[in-house]
Symmetry: D3
């Protein structure tokens, strides 16, 4: 139903190599100061990384005549459509309006997403059934846990529309990368250059770190002056920085 | 461009007679506890009442490559479309995500809405040019004032979609009534009965108030027992309660 | 039903003369840093002062099977008991848990309090029917306005128990003074000395202000050195500082 | 001193089998949307479940002339009475007013509760001595850790009165169940039916999950249509769903 | 003691002509999205405008052994130095850490500032003695009112250092302009161009507003196309836009 | 560059023996209720304790023309000076204004602090590169994790000035102790007596705990009456309480 572009293989590999800290730095160099959702944590600590294009789902506040099991679990409900239609490899990004007192969904829908091959879930709200979710091999980054079903407080209303998630604009197709620092949202048109320059930054920072660990001062090293850069180039020749 | 139903004359007259307190009570009797946006105030104290069907506009967080004057003031921007397309008699309801550090719009766009005959504006964010807005004969209920243009922090993204405003679900066409207690959102399918029963409640409360002012205890009067109801019916015959 | 001591005439007169700023200073001198409820405003600007002993009412969160008109407006409900039993001259102090999305009560119950001679109302939550309350000759200090009845969100549960109101401990019988800076709560056992020393402070500050208005530096004057104190004593002899 | 009913054995067993997510769903079906305290975590991760009737303790803000070690650790202080009088098997539920900058109590009082056989502690505030509490075999769910003693900021004032805890009404005797999603409060009169229907829901969800794990779509399965229900009944006959 | 440059006459005149909305737009065009302090209101509504260079004062949290009348009202206290040393024409900008439960200062120190010719006061905290301050001919923009003296909660610590005020960086000498939309902080090096271009923007917006009031659509007018610009230039020739 | 006194050996040993809970109690006995920063957690759980004198760094909000990599990573930037100049054994205490959406610094600067022998870092904001920081043998207590560099939102501005950190006043040289309950700040002039009395309190509490674990009531034991004190003295003779 939704035709969304998967990530090219090279781009995906580069982004999997990068921390959100490096990506956020690259976006900031391009003037983007509001591209990172902070305060999220992975429910399953063994699945604390994800990369993929965004498939968006927006919630609005619940209204009691609609927020009930009957109307919220029919298969025309936008959340249910999202679960069954999100393409493999995509990230389900949820604008839960920061809702922390009810949970977006629980282990049954999460298990369905896992079976369907999604890359992960990012929500600025809470999830439920955390004890079960912790055992699932699915990266889920969210802002907390809560026992009540989402429709106790919010209702899914908008599918693949531009949303806000944790104070960040997310357009369908934007590239989402998450790790334990949070989730960064890369505008699709910037993804290639951010990935390319990010790999270079990552490599340089590994060099710098190795020098700091040896006891060198950061003055002249970070950022590097000419001598440090020459040293860096020699270091690159000797070892590739962990990524080519 | 948007075909939305105006309010029937009788419904509008009844709602204009009612306080938001009475309407909220009627909604609560029907199980709706989350239908009132609190914390809003009218910018122009002489225009502190409004009634009309909702025309909705949703914002998302700003992204710096889009949040600039060039892209935000073109006439294909959803906010600009809303300003020029909202039907007369409607209320522009804005999901500004509670944004208080930039202002939705200022006196030029507000003046345009006034000329176009809109019933008013309700926003859970701030407005700008407050000194000018205070002089406009347009009811604007919002959560504060701020000098920067909206795109310093947020961008219009969704037009006539279901939104949340101040924690309340608003669907296009819902009936909005505002006074200095806030703005109440009546689901369209409930508007007639809420208006009808609200008028009856308002009349009864005026009777009760008149008795309290005379020194009667609230016990047996509020809520009224049978004797008080009989008294009320006599009172109604003598004076219509201010509305027929 | 409740036997509570009214304020002695001399104490009441002194406190009516004092601003909450002076009283808060006197409490601070005695080590009390958390005795003032900030962020409250009088609904009726012409009734922006009150003095009286506290009669307390505590709310808890609403539970839907109890939070309805039937169970909340019976006359055994603690709020209704408070309205009918609070002694004249007392202040109804409400722990509304900072609830801003429903209103404690509206014009009917407020009118009843006025008839019953209460000194005023202080709530850390909102009130409803603000348009009507603004016309009542009753000092009501609260944190906002909201249309829904209180039981949309909270329920009265505790009567004349120690409460917290706006971050301040309030015991029944404590002396409450409010003005546009907020409401200060004086432990009953300190009321006399606070009032007495407050009058003296107020008189000194009026003297200081008169000198500042004439262009004197605050150095040596505020706080006063010996010369300034001698000058003050002369000033007192000439005019009594507005209060004896 | 306090006579409170323990939980019947069958009810307790059923509730121990249920997640808070299932219980919250059952309460929501009965119209209760505000029965779950979110944002709490167990201090000791090995003791992350509790079931028992509530014994309540309410705090108010501290006043400096009372908030000191002398007056707060006497054995007539409500907190100390609670510690020594709460019946075995009960849950101590604390309205700490969301206080996160001082800790309700530390390892000595917690150790005393453990010895006395309480089922656990739920507080919407912080606890202190976390390093020690982590080693105690006592379920303690709270909102954080803080070094100062409670009376640095709050004071115990009300014992076995209705309280609010984390936005939820708690009456003495209500049934409290907690797990890592939070703590759910079941009105005592609903506990039996919630437990009974919850077991049935839990069983059905385990069936659904088993089918989702095999790759089935949620359409027609969750919620189940007639065919799925027939399948479910066969599945129940084959295995009891883990609980009888 | 402090040598700070006053504003040049031409710059001051231009800024007095401009709303904070226009200035914030000009700063945003230059990439500055965080230069406006929102949520402030003038205490005296008749003095709701100010323009002047910043003289900064920074507070830190109170410590009880220092936060008392003796140590806080000596004339070596940074706040007292600020009051007596701030040059005429300057704006006292206070980083009160958003403190709303104690008041920066009251009528005596404010009266001293008035006598000394300061342009006004901007604080992200509260002030005390509001009833008196409302009568003073001094523009004071702040976030609320509170009865306790500042040292109940905070202490002055840093004088003419870079501060944050309401989320905005303020360096000594920056130009501050305030009106009822809030207070905008212009980096000194940008003040001239912002003032110059702001006047032009203001004039254009007055023209646009006049056309909107006559019923013209905003399409093609705001922003103006070539025809509208030609019309604007004619309009300018006819009337100077209220400022030259 | 900065001459700051290291802690005397005896004082340091005593403080290393004490929990922040005991230290906060000792400060409270001396009237200090606001000396503990709550809500902080150690990034590396194996390094969850620190003791040392404070070296302070204060941030202000970012301004876009200054908040960029070029101006923020020069070695005259106050943060960079702090990193290279803080004496060994000291604690870097950061007033990050509670900023949670950008990270103070990452693994390179943290590694430099480790090499330089600092005792640890305390910040009321977030850190970045958490995955790397978790592997560093450096105690870092902060309020969260975030991917963007600090200058996305804040800028270092004040070095070794009095600051506020998490609501607590910190003067350079104050003694900082942190554990999983938070970080407590001891005014330097009180450090010796707090450490001495704290050791005594710690010893007494260990005795009390041992008795509670054996099943004794807290009545008469905690606080101890004369009999309990006699018992305690015998207990002390038998074992030294773990510290001499």
């Amino acid at each position: 139903m939704f035709e969304l572009d998967p990530l090219e293989k090279k781009l995906k590999e580069r982004l999997e190599f990068l921390s959100t800290a490096v990506i956020a730095s690259q976006l900031l160099k391009r003037g983007l100061r509001h591209s990172t959702i902070s305060g999220l944590l992975p429910i399953n600590v063994d699945f604390s990384r994800m990369v993929g294009p965004a498939f968006t789902l927006g919630f609005i506040p619940m209204r009691e005549d609609l927020g009930n099991s009957a109307s919220q679990s029919v298969h025309t409900n936008p959340q249910r459509i999202a679960i069954e239609e999100i393409p493999a490899g995509h990230v389900l990004v949820i604008d839960a309006r920061g809702e922390l007192e009810s949970g977006g969904f629980g282990d049954i829908l999460a298990a369905r997403l896992l079976v369907r091959g999604v890359a992960g879930v990012v929500s600025d709200g809470a999830m439920r059934d955390s004890a079960q979710l912790r055992k699932l091999a699915l990266p889920i980054f969210c802002a907390g846990s809560a026992a009540p079903p989402s429709f106790a407080r919010i209702m899914a209303a908008n599918l693949n529309r531009p949303i806000g998630c944790g104070g960040v604009a997310v357009f369908p197709g934007d590239v989402v990368v998450a790790d334990i620092d949070g989730a960064v949202v890369i505008p699709r048109h910037l993804a290639d250059e951010v990935a390319r320059d990010g790999v270079e930054q990552e490599r340089l920072e590994r060099f710098v770190r190795s020098r700091v660990d040896r006891g060198e001062t950061t003055v002249g090293l970070y950022p590097p002056n000419e001598a440090a850069m020459a040293d860096y180039r020699r270091w690159c020749e000797e070892n590739g920085g962990g990524f080519n």
